[in-house]
Amino acid sequence: MIPAFTDPAARRHWGAYFAEVDRLLAKASDDAASLCEDLERHVIDSLAAQPSGGSEVERLSAALGRLGRPIDYLRPLIADHLLDRGMRTYRPTLIARGLFHAVRAGSTRAMAAFAFGLGYLMLAVFAAIAVLKPFWGEHVGLFRRADGAISAGIVGRTDGARELLGLWSIPIALVIAGVLYVVLTKGLRAVRR
C-alpha cells in the first residue's frame, strides 16, 4: 500500500520506515501483522489531511514524525508477546527479552532503576565476599580449577581448585564495593536530578 510518490527520496523514506516496522513486528504475534497495514493507512490519511505545500519528503517526514519512532510505540507489544511465549514455553531467554522490552517500554527511569538495582546487587555480592572470606575461606575468593578455568566470588564446588588471592580477597572486595558504592550513588544522583 505505497502511495504514488513522484520523488524517489520519499519512496525510500517510506520504505525504510516500514521496513523497520516489519522487522519489529516479526518479533510480535501473528495478529500484529495487520498492524503494519493500519500504520500505512494512517500515514496515507495523515498525508491527505496535511495542508498542501512543502516537498513530498517534507510532508512524509512530518507525517512519520507525528506517528513516532516504531521502537517507541511497538515495544509494549513486543514485550507482551515475548513474555506470553516465554511463560507458555518456559524459555528463560524469551522471558528475559520480554522483561527487557517491558522495562524499556515503561520509562527510561524504570530502565535506570533496573540498572542501578543490578549495580547495588553486585555491590552486595562484593561486601558478602569480604564478610564471608574469614569464615568460609575454602568457598570464597578467586579459584583456578585443574582444567584452568577461573571462578570468582562465592563458589559452591572448589574440589581440586587452587585459591589465588588468599586473604587479599577481603581488601580487594572491600575496595571494589567502595568504588561501586561511590560510582553508583553519584550516578543515581545525576539521573534523579
Binding site: R41, H42, D45, L67, L74, P76, L77
Partner: protein, 121 residues
C-alpha cells in the same frame, strides 16, 4: 529563562506526559462511545479535543490490545479516496466498561478539585 524555571518546565513536561499516557486508554474508549471511527480520525480527535499530544503510533498497539480484550471491534469499509479504511467501534462489553468508567473518572476529578480548592470531602 533561568535554570530553575527551565528545570521546573522539564519536570512539568515529564509529569504531563505520564498523566496523558495514563488517560489515553480511557479517552479512546470515551471517543469510540460517541461513534465508530478510523484510526487517524480517532487520534486526531483525541489530540484536538483532549489535548493529548502523544505519538500517533501509540494508538494502534492500544487498539490491538483492546480488541484482544474484547472491548473494541473493527471492520473494513471504503475510505474517501477509495482505499479501504479500518473502522473501530466499542463492543457491548467495551460500552459497558466505558459506561462504568465514566462515573469513576468524574468522582476522581471532583475529589482532586475539592483538594485543590480546600473544600472538605
Amino acid at each position: 529563562m533561568t535554570r530553575k524555571s527551565s528545570e521546573l518546565d522539564e519536570a512539568i513536561g515529564r509529569w504531563e506526559v505520564q498523566l496523558r499516557k495514563g488517560v489515553l486508554e480511557f479517552v479512546i474508549l470515551v471517543s469510540l462511545r460517541e461513534r465508530e471511527q478510523y484510526g487517524f480520525e480517532l487520534i486526531s480527535g483525541v489530540a484536538r479535543r483532549a489535548s493529548l499530544d502523544v505519538p500517533e503510533g501509540t494508538l494502534y498497539p492500544l487498539l490491538l490490545r483492546l480488541a484482544r480484550d474484547g472491548l473494541v471491534a473493527s471492520r473494513l469499509a471504503e475510505g474517501d479516496g477509495g482505499a479501504p479504511r479500518k473502522y473501530y467501534a466499542l463492543t457491548v462489553q467495551g460500552r459497558d466498561l466505558t459506561d462504568a468508567m465514566v462515573p469513576a473518572w468524574l468522582r476522581l476529578v471532583a475529589s482532586v478539585d475539592r483538594m485543590l480548592t480546600g473544600e472538605p470531602a
